[in-house]
C-alpha cells in the first residue's frame, strides 16, 4: 500500500545537517513570535523567510503544498470564523498567522529525520510519554491506513456500493461497523507492533546513532530565526517605522 513518507526528504536536505535541537528551538521561537503578530507585513516577512528556507532545503514545493493542504481545512475554518465575527482584516491575519506557523513546522519536520526530532524533544526534557505517543502515532497512522484500505477492498469485493450519500442508512450502518472493526483490528496489530518493539530492546527511550553537536553554522541558523522573529515583533510594535 502507498504511504506518505515522513522522512522522504529529511536526509537529502542541506538543512538536515543542522543540529535538530537548534532547529527545533529556533522554530518554536519563531512560531511563538508569529502568534503575537497582528499585522500582515511582519507576517509576510516571516513567511518570506520560511519560503527562502524551503527553496534552500531542496524540498519540492509540491511536497510542501501537499503537507499544507492537510492542515488547510483547519486554517480555512479559523479564517471563516474570524471573518464572520471580526471582519475580513482579522480573518486574513489569522489565515496568515496559522499558515506561516504551519509552514515553519513543515520546514522543521520535513528536514529533520523523525527519530532525530523525537530525540531533540527528549533533550528538551519532553516526557517519555509524549515522545512515545508521537512515535506510536507516526507508526499507527500507517496501520490505520492499511486496515482502512483492506476493509474498503473487502467491502467492494462483496458488492458494497453505498457510501456516496450520507442519507443512505444502510451505507451509514456499514461504514459505522467498518469504523468499529478498524479500531478492533488496529488494536490487535498495535499489540503485535509493541511486542515487536520490546523484543528488539525498546524501553521507551528514543535512541539514534547521531549525536548532534551544535557548531557555528547552527548558531548562524539560530541567529537567523531569532533575528527574523525579533525584526517582525519590532515592526509589529512600531519600534521600526517601515514605510513602503
Amino acid at each position: 500500500m502507498k504511504h506518505h513518507e515522513i522522512d522522504q526528504y529529511a536526509k537529502q536536505s542541506p538543512l538536515c545537517r543542522f543540529d535538530p535541537r537548534v532547529k527545533t528551538l529556533s522554530t518554536i521561537v519563531l512560531v511563538v513570535a508569529i502568534a503575537f503578530l497582528r499585522e500582515p507585513l511582519p507576517l509576510l516577512l516571516c513567511l518570506g523567510f520560511l519560503l527562502v528556507l524551503v527553496s534552500i532545503s531542496g524540498i519540492p514545493a509540491r511536497h510542501v503544498g501537499k503537507s499544507y493542504v492537510l492542515a488547510s481545512s483547519f486554517i480555512l475554518f479559523a479564517f471563516l470564523t474570524m471573518w464572520y465575527s471580526s471582519g475580513l482584516d482579522e480573518g486574513v491575519n489569522v489565515f496568515l498567522r496559522i499558515s506561516t506557523s504551519v509552514v515553519a513546522l513543515i520546514v522543521l519536520t520535513t528536514t529533520t529525520p523523525f527519530f532525530d526530532l523525537l530525540k531533540a524533544l527528549r533533550w528538551f526534557k519532553v516526557p517519555v510519554i509524549i515522545s512515545s505517543l508521537l512515535l506510536f502515532t507516526y507508526r499507527f497512522i500507517f496501520v490505520f491506513q492499511d486496515e482502512l484500505e483492506r476493509m474498503k477492498l473487502a467491502r467492494l469485493a462483496r458488492g458494497f456500493k453505498g457510501g456516496k450519500s450520507l442519507l443512505n442508512k444502510e451505507a451509514l450502518r456499514t461504514i459505522a461497523y467498518t469504523a468499529g472493526m478498524i479500531l478492533v483490528r488496529s488494536n490487535a496489530r498495535a499489540n503485535n507492533i509493541y511486542d515487536a518493539l520490546l523484543s528488539r530492546g525498546y524501553t521507551g527511550e528514543i535512541k539514534t546513532l547521531n549525536s548532534p553537536r551544535a557548531g557555528a553554522k547552527d548558531a548562524a541558523l539560530a541567529i537567523a530565526f531569532v533575528g527574523v522573529a525579533v525584526l517582525s515583533l519590532c515592526i509589529q510594535t512600531d519600534v521600526i517605522i517601515w514605510t513602503l
Binding site: D195, A196, L198, S199, G201, T203, L209
Partner: protein
Amino acid sequence: MDALKLAGVGYVYSDGIRALENISFSVGQGERVSLVGPNGAGKSTLLRILAGLYLPTSGIAEIMGTQLTKKDAERLRRNVGFLFQDPDDQIFMPTVWDDVAFGPINLGLPVDEVKERVREAMRQTGIEGYEERVPHHLSFGEKKRVAIAGVLAMKAPILLLDEPTANLDPQGRRDLIRILDALSETVVLATHDLSVAFELTDRAVVLKKTKLYDGNFRTLVEDDRTLADASLELPSLCRLMKTWRDRTGGSFPLPLTVEEALSILLRDSFR
C-alpha cells in the same frame, strides 16, 4: 544449562481464554525445535512467553537459566530474537538500514559495532543495496528478509520464528529456508507446515493448548493418532510414500525429504 525451559506453564488471556495448559519441555543450547499444531493451538502465545514478552499465568519459564519474572523480563529479552509472522508488525523505521539498526542501537552498542552488525545481517539475508529503501514499499518476501536481518543484527543466542514461511511464494520460501538453515543459534520454530519443520529442525513439540508429543519427526510421522489429534497433515511426499508402502507391503521408515524418498524408491525399484 538449557537455553529455554518450561515447567507446567499455562497462560490465560485477560478475557478468560485459556491458551496454554501445563506445558513442560526444555530446549538445549544450539538445538532446533519445531512447535507444530493447528491454528489456535497456542504456538504464538508460547513463543511470546519464550521471548519474555508474556509472563506465564502459571508454571515457570526460564531463559538461559534465569526464571522469567516481570523484574528480569527486559534483561532476558536481550537473549532472544523474535521473528513475527507478519513482517509489517515488526518493521518500524523509515528505511531498511534504520530498521535493521533499531535493535543494536537499543542495545546501546558503539556506532562502529552497530554498522558492522547491520552490514553483516544484511549480507546474511541478501538485502545488500536495500539500505535506503522504504520498507513499506518492499514485496512481502523482501520485508520478511528485512525482518530477519533486524532479528539477526541483535545477535541473540536464541531465535524464535513464528510461521517464517507463511504467505511466501515458492522461491521466497526456498530462499528463507536457506537463510535460516545457515544459522547456528538455538532455534524454536512455530509452524503448521511440517515440510519446513523437517528441513530446519530435528525435534518436534506438538501443541494443542497442551503438549501432545515431544520427540523426533521419524516417530511423529508414524503416529497417526497424534497427527489426527493435532489436526496435522503430513506433507504430500510423506503421504505418497505411505500409500506406496501400504500398497507394496514395504517396511521402510517414512522419508522426510525428497532425497530420502528417492533413495528408497531407487532401492525398491532395483530389488
